[in-house]
Symmetry: C2
Subunit: 226 residues, 2 copies
């Protein structure tokens, strides 16, 4: 069974959004009517091709946004503050979501668990180490992009048949859709916040092959029913 | 056989050093007697624990250094220039070192080649894609740290015995020493420039188990002699 990390096992998007709120407040002191969110989203999308995902990419895009939105008038001291936010995000403790520890303890006795996560290699390994969950996983796969090809290559390398694989995660786009496309099953456990880049309307998804749970606590029971 | 990427197959450190020279020139316009190199090295070492390796980490450390060395007096426009250097490093074509393409074409017919490289996942995958070498590798391992444990886990996962494995790279610290410690062989192909963090004196290395080549062109012949 594959499990996503960010916003499936531990808090992630909340931190990004809290930091983005702080950025908005900081930049509005310089440019009161700036549309910081839109500008940041554009910068992030433009940089995705060269930076990929993760906190370092986000920090660089925040700095770029701050410089551009203020028309280069932002003082270096404020940019230093933004740098510090990124460092704080990278070193903060990993906050597990409710029920994760109990659910994984149970699941790890009955299934082979793989952590399949996306983003910055160093940051993800560090988060896993700080989570205390590392021992429950048989393997860890950190992917630069979670698409069908990436999942296919993980399953092939690990000699897992798609028909016997279940992917569990909070993102329809990155966890659920590619797993179904491969012929695996998928369990969607939504998280209240979803990054704009990850949003997919339900009706754009296949009807079959996936399930939705409110909370990871129900996962064991659902899997038993398969 | 495992091959390192940066400065073994393609240019890497040269780009970092050219960018660092540009940073030195830029900061000296603000602080003529600043010891930029020393300050940057300190910032990089302090950040290694949270940023890991790679161009994004380097860019963030350059920005931090620029702010600190100028005592927060650097204009945002100059920091924008530094951001741009990072983006240029990440999107520049992958420049293969001399003889690499010919040597790999030959070796890939006779050995199973693994690319075993360190650093930023997204950047390394992108460099490999731009190198034109991807098809010659049976597998790719991008590690956040190249130590004995990391090599051991790669070999175990791929069912490779250390005794039948050879690691080839430019870094005594990251490519040669850990491979020998595992009981594998290693071939050191030095690169004229080595990042301070990677430097190891020859006499701190084991006497046996490794070889040194001037150029990758001699690798096939050396392997045949094993």
């Amino acid at each position: 069974m594959g499990l996503d990390g960010d916003d499936t096992l531990w808090q992630n998007e909340t931190r990004f959004q809290l930091t983005q709120t702080a950025l908005r407040d900081l930049l509005r002191r310089h440019v009161p009517d700036a549309d910081v969110d839109t500008h940041l989203a554009e910068v992030e999308m433009r940089n995705l091709r060269i930076y990929g995902y993760g906190v370092k990419a986000f920090t660089l895009s925040m700095i770029e946004t701050a410089i551009q939105v203020t028309d280069r008038r932002i003082p270096a001291a404020d940019l230093e503050v933004i740098l510090g936010w990124g460092q704080k995000m990278l070193s903060a403790p990993t906050e597990l979501l409710e029920g994760v520890e109990t659910a994984l303890k149970d699941l790890s006795l009955r299934y082979e668990l793989l952590l399949i996560t996306m983003g910055d290699l160093f940051d993800q390994e560090s988060k896993l180490a700080r989570s205390g969950l590392a021992d429950m996983f048989k393997g860890v796969e950190i992917l630069s992009e979670k698409n069908v090809e990436a999942y296919r290559s993980v399953l092939r390398r690990r000699h897992i048949e798609p028909g016997e694989f279940v992917m569990v995660g909070n993102s329809l786009r990155s966890d659920i859709a590619p797993a179904i496309a491969l012929g695996a099953r998928a369990v969607h456990i939504p998280y209240p916040l979803t990054w704009h880049h990850e949003q997919v309307p339900d009706d754009a998804m296949p009807k079959d092959g996936w399930h939705r749970l409110e909370n990871i606590s129900g996962l064991g029971e659902l899997l038993d029913s398969f």
